[in-house]
């Protein structure tokens, strides 16, 4: 007898057992465990009721034809619509009230992300090898609102709204294209800088904008000392301050300063508003000649600026300038330090400075930079960045566990600390805190460029 013939009964038995294994494997789906637990809970809750709880084991699915999605989340999230489960742990917890967003129309993944077709925890929540779009953690979830509501959303989605507002207020649009939105230059124009600001201040400001103005929207370009000096040298080319200022009386100037209501917008030594820049150190920045011009007619210098023409008589302005020159000197600096900074800028290379200005995209926010004209879009186009594929995003040498290697995490890190992934990146650092970073990330995630059926589009009123 052949060895195969001897083995035949054994093989027949083994193949039968394996067939049972196949059937068992197909029957014993991971979701059944949750359904059994849910049924036990349901029985407990229905103990006092007249009718026993009805429960059907098996897959639950919501098919939203218009959106082309089939969400099977409710296979495990069974208590979704049952108010009795509001205090139970996930996956059974009752879903909070969702007003007009009925499950029948929107399903789950439309807002939550993740893989609706999947019926195992790892696959459904992601990310997995074949589904990188993991469910959104709570903090980024409002991005989904913009799919239907676009940018016409306010207090309904506060995080999204905040991110959207910040995106334009901080001039992100200066470098990053978003659809057809026009670029807004949010910074002051940079013409005739040599007539306006002092050399050492320019250097210090470029080196660290926030140490001069903690509330400035100017991000930190993270220049090295030499780079800051180069850029300062480039910006300060051209003739210095012109004309002479007739000296005024600082004491009268203080009165005029207070009476003219400057403190409504400006802060001096910790007092005043924060619409305009803090003036506590303004005389370390501007030449008196320039301060006079600014106060006399700010719009002539910066038409888009917020400061109005106040119509203060010239003599009062001279007194105010005298007051500012005397009082608002900022933190006392060592003479030799200042001289050293002056020297550094004087020895620096204007050409390298120009290269840096072009590379950093200063033109995104600042108009009238001499010798730098329109150079196109500087940063990546964000029109559909919320739908970017993870493989385009490089976490560099940042150690991120695989489960967090998702698009939201990447954008969050990028916004919070733009150069975190590797050296040589261009984006300046805004020093956003966690909340601000989450808000901006949420806005960017919402920029999906996905086509949504027209019946789902619902603007919630015009943006202010």
């Amino acid at each position: 007898m052949n060895v195969f013939q001897k083995l035949f009964p054994f093989l027949a038995l083994l193949s039968f057992l394996l067939f049972i294994g196949v059937v068992w494997k197909d029957y014993d789906r991971p979701y059944l465990e949750y359904q059994r637990k849910f049924k036990a809970l349901l029985d407990l809750k229905a103990a006092g009721a007249s009718r026993p709880a009805e429960f059907r084991f098996g897959i639950r699915q919501r098919w939203i034809k218009e959106l082309g999605i089939a969400d099977r989340c409710e296979t495990c999230h069974l208590g979704l619509e049952d108010p009795r489960f509001k205090d139970d742990p996930q996956p059974f917890k009752t879903h909070p009230a969702i007003a007009e967003h009925s499950y029948e129309t929107f399903g789950c993944t439309m807002c939550h992300g993740g893989q609706g077709m999947a019926t195992t925890l790892q696959d459904a929540h992601g990310p997995t090898e074949n589904w990188y779009r993991a469910i959104y953690q709570d903090k980024f979830m409002e991005n989904s609102c913009s799919q239907c509501h676009g940018e016409s959303i306010q207090n309904q989605a506060p995080v999204l709204y905040r991110g959207q507002t910040m995106f334009y207020e901080y001039g992100c649009r200066g470098c990053h294209k978003v659809g057809t939105k026009p670029r807004t230059e949010i910074g002051p124009p940079l013409d005739e800088m040599a007539k306006r600001v002092k050399t050492d201040w320019m250097y210090r400001f470029l080196k660290s904008p926030k140490s001069y103005l903690p509330l400035t929207k100017m991000p930190d370009p993270l220049f090295s000392p030499q780079e800051a000096a180069d850029v300062a040298a480039f910006l300060l080319q051209g003739p210095g301050p012109e004309g002479t200022v007739i000296p005024g009386d600082p004491a009268l100037g203080k009165t005029a300063f207070l009476e003219s209501g400057c403190l409504a917008c400006h802060t001096v030594n910790g007092e005043g508003g924060d619409v305009g820049p803090d003036l506590s150190g303004v005389s370390s920045k501007n030449y008196p000649e320039r301060l006079f011009k600014i106060i006399k007619d700010p719009t002539a210098l910066w038409p888009e600026g917020k400061m109005p023409v106040l119509g203060i008589p010239d003599q009062d302005i001279r007194n105010i300038v005298a007051f500012l020159t005397q009082e608002c000197t900022g933190p006392a600096l060592d003479k030799s330090t200042v001289a050293g900074q002056d020297q550094l800028v004087r020895n620096a290379s204007k050409d390298r400075g120009r290269e840096l200005v072009v590379k950093q995209g200063c033109i995104g926010c600042h108009a009238k930079i001499e010798g730098v004209t329109e150079i196109g879009e500087l940063g990546p186009d964000l029109t559909t960045f919320g739908a970017v594929h993870i493989s385009f995003l490089d976490f560099g040498h940042l150690k991120v566990p695989v489960k967090d290697r998702t698009v939201p995490t990447w954008i969050y890190y990028k916004v919070k600390s733009p150069r975190i992934f590797k050296e040589g990146l261009k984006m300046p650092d805004y020093y956003f805190n966690e909340e601000e970073s989450v808000a901006i990330t949420t806005y960017i995630l919402g920029l999906k460029g996905k086509e949504i059926p027209a019946s789902y589009i619902l603007p919630l009123g015009k943006r202010p």
Partner: protein
């Protein structure tokens, strides 16, 4: 007695006898065969057909739906995941085992007269196996499928002069889209099963008739050195066929067990949905064509895509008609065929080596990486 009467009534009537002829006598060759790779391949073909037909009940060859159907197999359809796994692993096993079957026949020089033409049929079946596997590779419409097929179409396009046209005809367009999927599907579920089914039948029938025709001539060595169990020849006539059927059925069961076990333990690969704008780095051809991609990566598309593969195929096709020697048939590594065996072994080693290099040692930009060496991102 009653059993015998029933048995006679069942099997000894005119209808049964007209439908099922008595089996032809069993040759010594058939009786002593051990590997049975041919039958194992037939088993795989049967498994592929059964699971394939079941998968067809759900699958739709539309670019916007195909991937979701695969997800349904994976998560919802009863036995969907397991049948898909079985289909995939059987197909991969069949590629390997058909090749082994051919190798065995070559090493034993069993393509000698009068079996030359059966070798040709086997050769066509091998090509059909590859075409079937390649077309099936595209059907899940995931990244692996899309970019594997992209590489294959680029290989086609690298053929001089007619390359671009060839690619256009095969894909039904300039790039992989609905037409390519439809074509792959039709070839995979209609053309290939039909052709292969017919050819397998022919192959088996020819195998038997050639065997009877050749008698002991084709296996001369057996005469001089008979196997010990061949001596008690009296029982062959009576129970050989049932023994053989039992033996082959046992092999079928072994294959079924292996395939079911593998399918329970390992899921068939599935990547993200096909996305023309996201190129995997590096994009690789299906593994069974990786050797060709590796060969092409050395430059010289004329040699890599045309001359070498076609020369090898043509040589393989014609080998029974070229080879002049008459000795060594039916014997492993017969000394008189040392040159042929060395050449063939060298070819097999190179072919497998190319596939292994392509599969394990190639990273982004098709540069060399050790398998344990991490790939740089971008």
């Amino acid at each position: 007695m009653a059993v015998n009467t029933t048995r006679n009534a069942l099997f000894e009537n005119r209808f049964w006898k007209s439908a099922f002829r008595g089996a032809p006598p069993v040759s010594k060759w058939l009786r002593d065969k051990i590997f049975g790779l041919g039958l194992i391949n037939l088993s795989l073909f049967i498994i592929l057909n059964v699971t394939g037909i079941l998968l067809m009940f759900y699958y739709v060859p539309y670019t916007d739906k195909a991937y979701n159907v695969i997800k349904d197999f994976q998560f919802v359809v009863s036995f969907g995941a397991i049948f898909r796994n079985m289909h995939r692993w059987s197909a991969y096993a069949m590629i390997v085992l058909v090749f082994l079957h051919m190798s065995r026949v070559f090493y034993m020089a069993e393509y000698r007269e009068p079996r030359e033409f059966n070798w040709v049929i086997g050769w066509v079946l091998f090509l059909c196996t590859l075409v079937g596997a390649l077309t099936g590779y595209l059907l899940p419409w995931d990244q692996k499928a899309y970019w594997g097929m992209t590489i294959m179409s680029n290989v086609m396009a690298s053929v001089p002069v007619i390359g671009e046209k060839l690619k256009f005809v095969v894909l039904g367009g300039d790039e992989i889209g609905q037409s390519a999927l439809t074509r792959a599907y039709d070839i995979h579920v209609k053309v290939m099963p039909l052709i292969m089914g017919l050819l397998i039948a022919l192959h088996v029938i020819r195998g038997r008739t050639d065997d009877l025709l050749a008698g002991s001539q084709a296996h001369g060595e057996h005469k001089s050195a008979p196997a010990p169990e061949a001596d008690n020849g009296s029982d062959t006539a009576d129970c050989a066929w049932s023994d053989i059927i039992k033996r082959e059925l046992a092999k079928f069961l072994i294959i079924l067990i292996i395939i079911m076990g593998t399918s329970i333990l390992f899921g068939a690969p599935l990547e993200e949905e096909a996305n023309p704008s996201v190129t995997p780095v590096p994009a690789k051809a299906p593994w069974f064509f990786l050797g060709l991609q590796e060969l092409l990566s050395w430059g010289a598309p004329f040699w890599g895509a045309i001359v070498v593969p076609n020369a090898v195929l043509l040589f393989a096709l014609l080998v029974p008609y070229i080879e002049r020697g008459k000795t060594g048939s039916g014997v492993w590594f017969h000394p008189s065929r040392r040159l042929q065996n060395i050449l063939f072994t060298a070819f097999v080693t190179v072919a497998i080596g190319l596939i292994i290099v392509g599969a394990l040692f190639r990273g982004p930009g098709w540069r060399f990486y050790w398998p344990w060496q991490p790939w740089p991102l971008h």
